[in-house]
């Protein structure tokens, strides 16, 4: 979804080739969510199918320039106007992990929380160093540099929220620990309502791709720029 509108937004500045779009998307987001050129072309052909963009001029060998259409402009304006939907949150692997771990015998929830906190803090340290670089020498000058700083800070604030949530889980669990006996792992409890969950899973299939992206974003950014 966001790639589609991201490319549309870039085309709003003027006609571009796929390779240019890819480069500009990445410089604005600091290669946080790198695109492969295949993704760009797939998205472009869908945008063309939906009449949101059209070829601009003749094909230049393998390359084709595209421009945004009136429909495309309208769709882009709608996107800017509407808030990003948060009412159908994507599955969060960490939340699922803690939900499974809590009360399960032989699983040390405290250790899971600390391992995650360590990892999350580490990622925040890396983002913060990149941020300090972005702020050095008077801070961002171009729109692209500003965009990159905003994206970095989004990563920092999200990680902070996660760290705070982990702190909260830990203190809540510590208070609860004394009162609740652990649930045995191999018990005689009836099976869960699997069917309903499966239906839900299907609905969110594409979310997993995003989750996967996020998981690797950190390594991509920091691997590329900090060393």
């Amino acid at each position: 979804m966001s790639i589609r509108y991201g490319l549309l937004a870039l085309l709003d500045y003027g006609p571009k080739y796929g390779s240019q779009l890819r480069a500009e998307f990445e410089s604005r987001t600091g290669a946080t969510w790198p695109l492969n050129i295949g993704q760009v072309y797939t998205t472009l052909s869908r945008l063309e199918r939906d009449a949101l963009i059209e070829p601009a001029g003749e094909r230049d060998g393998k390359q084709q320039r595209y421009r945004i259409t009136e429909n495309g402009r309208r769709e882009l304006a709608d996107w800017y106007r509407q808030p990003v939907d948060r009412s159908h949150p994507s599955r969060d692997e960490l939340a699922i992990k803690l939900a499974m771990a809590v009360g399960t015998e032989g699983v040390d929830v405290g250790a899971i929380i600390q391992a995650q906190r360590h990892h999350t803090l580490k990622a925040m340290q890396d983002y913060t160093r990149l941020k300090a670089q972005a702020l050095a020498d008077g801070g961002p000058e171009s729109g692209e540099e500003m965009a990159w700083l905003l994206v970095l800070e989004q990563l920092i604030f999200s990680a902070e929220a996660e760290a705070r949530w982990l702190d909260h889980c830990e203190s809540r669990l510590m208070r609860l620990a004394a009162r609740r006996p652990a649930r045995p792992r191999t018990g005689t409890q009836p099976d869960d309502t699997g069917a309903a969950h499966d239906a839900h899973d299907e609905h969110h299939v594409h979310d997993d791709e995003h989750a996967h992206d996020d998981e690797h974003a950190h390594h991509r950014i920091t691997g590329g720029t900090t060393a």
């Binding site: 360590h118 803090l121 920092i156 203190s171």
Partner: protein
Amino acid sequence: MTSPTAASGAAPILELRGLGRVHGSGVTTVHALRDIDLTVSAGEFVAVMGPSGSGKSTLLTLAGGLDNASSGQVLIEGTDLGTLNKSQLAKIRRTSIGYVFQDYNLIPALTAAENIALPRELDGISARAARKEALAALEEINLTEVANRFPDEMSGGQRQRVAIARALVGDRRLVLSDEPTGALDSETGEAVLALLRKRCDEGAAGVMVTHESRYAAWADRVVFLRDGTMVDQTVSPTAESLLASEVKR
């Protein structure tokens, strides 16, 4: 990389060895800190995180020579604080250590500039030179307008920044700060962290207590305390990124 190497090779400024602190006795015994080993080198900035009551302030007051350990040692630039008499300890606290208290600890009867200048005057530099330094420190934190105000004429955030300026004047090799961002909004808090970070990049050793991960993330290393014990720490990123760049080549 913005921060120069703080990893291996740099001189240790602060060393905690098997450090412990016990309050009370018998059934009321509280182990505020147990068997802490921690070395902070020149150029290194360490954040200490942990829930309330986990021993963060205790660790800092011991490191700053403001309290006596029940066991173990505190070494500052190689000197064991336990071997010093009162006046030697006072001198080391004044000349080597900048301390930002959780509750600012400004002297109510002195203006902001006088509060900042006081430790320098005690060091023996002239009142004029000390005032000049104080004003420069206030300028660095964008707070020249409060120079002649008394603590009760400043906002909490201003008082906190003055306390930080006081800890940073002079050439203190060890900067200890306890929740230095407590009363600050997000942007001012960040400016304070940038200041502490800069001081460490210039060669000081820094230890900061905080419960906010966004601020801890400015440090080279994050140490986690639970019930007085160090349960975990992140590896200094400088060391890690050195490794990473080696792998790449």
